[in-house]
Point group: C2
Chain length 289, copies 2
């Protein structure tokens, strides 16, 4: 039975891989890991049942996948690679049976993206809340949001709106495991991307974030729309996790992706002087309270 924290943690420790020599993962006050040689990347993100995911139409395992993948996506948007994750879970009343499938999804994403779960916290509360904090590094210089310059092309790593379309499809029972574009982020960095962001809150909002951070404007010409998605899904729908990047030379960027065996990124517009973002409505996902 996993009806309390101690039993649940003991069961988790048996599932998680052991730590390498010289490191200490689960089971102490802190995890002890080797510091990276390059810069340390840090991010954290929360998934709340009923807000970011709906357990009436999403499995607990898919929610676990998503909680980890959205953090890996933040590392991807720097051109980095993930190292470690800390997972804290608020377990709702009678929710003990969720822990195993939740960790199924978390561990599958951890394996897929080469990120070790090294610690965290299990606690009780009114609703399932999964917070993942992630560390990573870059073998070089991270790609910030602030480097876009007038004249740069704007590209995305895939058609957009899939997140919003998937949500409708899930109501029909489809799985929902958003990707994290880790390989794409690294290739973009190596090929000279000037700025990059992941599209978790929708193109309309995230492009404006990148433009504001860079002190530039942007003009969007045309947006590739994912299968089953609408133009509005593609413009303002969140939960896409494709990367948006800018580059001085769009052709060279596309060629670098092809050489790496990745899908060609799609040019959607260009960076201009000023502070206006044209060709795309206001919108995007934001929490309200």
């Amino acid at each position: 039975v996993k009806n309390d924290e101690l039993a649940a943690i003991a069961a988790l420790v048996r599932r998680l891989p052991g730590s390498p020599p010289g490191e200490t993962w689960i089971g102490d006050d802190c995890a002890v890991v080797a510091a990276p040689n390059g810069p340390l990347l840090l991010a954290a993100d929360t998934v709340v049942d009923g807000v970011h995911a709906d357990l009436r139409v999403t499995t607990v395992a898919d929610l676990g996948w998503k909680a980890l993948a959205r953090n890996v996506s933040d590392i991807a948007a720097m051109g980095g690679r993930p190292l470690h994750a800390l997972v804290t879970v608020v377990v709702p009343p009678e929710g003990g049976a969720m822990i195993d499938p939740l960790y199924d999804g978390l561990l599958e994403a951890a394996l897929a993206y080469g990120c070790a779960i090294v610690g965290g916290d299990l606690t009780s509360g009114p609703r399932l809340v999964v917070t993942v904090a992630i560390t990573g590094t870059v073998d070089g210089t991270p790609v910030l949001r602030s480097g876009a310059r007038a004249g740069d092309a704007i590209l995305v790593t895939g058609p957009l709106g899939g997140g919003a379309a998937d949500l409708r499809a899930r109501i029909a029972g489809r799985s929902a495991r958003p990707p994290a574009r880790l390989a794409e982020g690294e290739v973009a960095r190596l090929a000279g991307a000037t700025a990059m962001i992941d599209l978790s809150d929708g193109l309309a909002l995230d492009l404006r974030r990148l433009a504001a951070a860079s002190g530039v404007g942007a003009i969007v010409d045309a947006v590739p729309v994912a299968d089953g998605a609408t133009q509005t899904d593609a413009m303002t729908g969140g939960e896409d996790y494709e990367l948006l990047l800018t580059a001085a030379d769009a052709s060279a960027m596309r060629a670098a992706f092809v050489r790496a065996g990745l899908r060609e990124p799609i040019a959607i517009g260009r960076i201009v002087e000023g502070d206006e973002v044209l060709g795309i409505p206001e919108g995007g996902w934001r929490h309200r309270w």
Copy 2:
């Protein structure tokens, strides 16, 4: 007005100190910070309103303090020092006015313990949930839970049961800002502590954790009781945040604390062979679901 995520984050960014040259804190997909020279310590902990704290008797600022201090306490229990914190907040409906006082408490603890808040996430949900993930390092070898050996003395950095007594006092309006014994943890490490743990879940449970990790037993002779606390509070009450440590030479350990200008740690018993923990009842805080 802070009625949505974007306005609230903009307000927070104005409150938080700027990042040093070469680092990027709030405002990108990840924070970018320098990696420590020594090992990287990682921990995360969640505070849920109504579970770890009760906003009917605790201020939001005190809850913020506690959310950060309990993570610093985990770093202290390794003999380390904190570096960076990521703060994720689930804001309840109509809870926008909580964000400012919450960050008052978080930032006061961050200042007190020399730990920079470099990123995180703001999201909506049914109840206030504050998750802090922390990084730290050690200028030497971290003190694990697993190093206690038969013959070691068991010491605590202060009288126990204060957390449980404070909870009763708070019902009468007293503040609640648990300390993190950062200086004590470092002195204990430098003076040769063989094992260490912070007492967040109560002596009964946390001593058993340390004994199990070290593969030893323990005998508790007498436990110092905090003002206003009962023997039961001191044995099994949680939320104390004093450190429990073991040392081959209790006198040398006490002398090191005195030399550092800290309160003398109190010997409460000794480590023995076997796996039994005697002189203290079963008990301690554990979440159930």
